[in-house]
Amino acid sequence: MALSLAAARVRAAALTLPLVAFIGVTFLAPLGLMLARSVHEPLVADSLPDTLAMLNNWDGVALPSEDVFEVLGRELLSLHQQRSLGGVATRVNRLEAGMRSAIVRTARQLRDADPGSWREAMIAAAPIWNEPKAWRAIQRSGERYTLRHFLHALDLERDTAGNVVAQPPDQRIYLSLLGRTLMVSVVITVICLILGYPVAYLIANSPPSRSNLLLLLVLVPFWTSLLVRTTSWIVLLQNQGVINDLLVAVGLTTEEGRIPMIYNMTGTLVAMTQILLPFMVLPLYAVMRTIAPSQMRAAAALGASFPQAFIRVYWPQTLPGIAAGSLLVFILSIGYYITPALVGGRTGQLISNLIAYHMQQSLNWGLAAALGAILLVCVVLLFLLFNRLVGVERMRFT
């Protein structure tokens, strides 16, 4: 008997193994490698090994000696010849503005001449080499393992003494964006609950033929392409769109007074609410249809008014559905990308859009990875809560 149990365990595990291996290779490994970039940035360390070794003994205050200038000059020259200077210059520049052009200019001017004094030649090419902050930027960007992307993602940085301090006020953008994303997610979740609860109640308490039809009205948008639904909102809400045309036609607003309802936060909120509403209605409906209507009739027969019966009998039994729907909508909201990117304009962007910006435009992949890691931690914590309260196996509508 013990043997056959062991055999059953092995067989069950073996059945899951192909998918575990597949997800491990095609999903978890890429995810892990991406997140590792938030703390691991070896490019500068690999490109300027000799300079960084010499800077190990530097006091961080006085200007480094002529030997250090020479070693850095030679390393920059050879990077320039290998055409791999740009990446290094960009990374150093993230720690000290102006270093990109300084490095490129220095390498270009050193190229033809073998200077008598490297120090003088480099300072002549870019005066910033005369300042210790340039060398600190080289030293710090050469850290192979670093927490600076996480600090940056939390609007923090290290000052010259190495203490963690807040970024200058004009550069603090990430915490407020994270806060805005959480706030938007809360608002969307609450609106979805307010809109979705009565609808789920109606579907659950209709006769079967009608409830199937009403359920279809939820399922059709649920399964309709996100891009289709986002396009519909553009058609409806844009300045020359259907709703503004209607408002002008009935005289509620003038041709000049068309209301900007899209390419801003309003667009993000309206479109995301409509897109996520089925995720609220379906779990609520799943719970409500298990509540026998006779319970409410019994409460009424015992003298409870409808509000009393609802609050004491019905509502408490729907709490699991509320938890499931709310957590689901919230989890999906904080990671939302497509809709804000298409209808959010400048003010309606969320944290995912900033991650995409750093992936595709600024190419600051370390920062993108740090922001992604913070977002992922939020999502995973919420999902663990969801799993504890609701259970994955109950997510049958997907």
Binding site: A12, T16, M34, R37, L195, W223, S225, L226, Y285, G372
Partner: protein, 282 residues
Amino acid sequence: MTSKTATFSFGDRLARWLHLAFCAAVFVFLIAPMLVVIPLSFNAEPYFTFSEGMLALDADAYSLRWYRSVVEDEEWRLALTNSLFIGLAAAAIATILGVLAALGLASPAMPGRALVTGLLISPMITPIIISAAGMFFFYSNLGLSQTHLSLILAHAALGTPFVVITVTATLAGFDRNLTRAAASLGAGPFAAFRRIQLPLIAPGVIAGALFAFAASFDEVVTVLFLGGLEQRTIPRQMWAGIREQISPEILAVATFLVAFVLVLLGVVEYLRKRGGQSPVGQ
């Protein structure tokens, strides 16, 4: 006593009408945006709003020109081919691996079920931008970015949770005595699976496969990160259309996609009736 149990007091009726009106408004909010797109896709003018002729139901204000230009456009045709090819291949991989895993997860002897389930459905809960960024680096390092293969593998990974969840749910209602009976009658484990278990869980398997296909068919972010011009899919073309040159062609494609969903849901509903339990809407 009688006054409290009477169901048709004025207050009750008012509350009931308010409830119905509220729900009607919510249904309009859910459905109307898609319904507006359909007539506009027949607009004879290159605008996204109703012309006076359309409102007057003038037949000349309507035309099939946007449908014609989509059908005649090389790029849209390539996009449809790509979407179907990538979607079918990804759904096939996701279904085979997902069904096997669900069979393991549904076994009472499965060790570490919670952890394995969590890992297997992680592609569904991870924000798509993070998944796509990770895959971008991964497939670039392998030299596979801008290939159909990378998109098929990516979409298969994103689609497996749908198969795992749907099939696991179907298996929960499966009577294990049936496979034992088959075994006692001399069937090997594979024969018992193929002849007894698979036919009974088939509705769940097909629904899971459809969902995996639909997930791939609607996916745009990994296509943005992994795909090149040769891998453009329908959602990718729509994305470009919305962002770059907005043309009513998109509305024609959108109408086609809404029709596609109605067919898909019809199939699922048919399976539900046949299989006796719903993989959706529960």
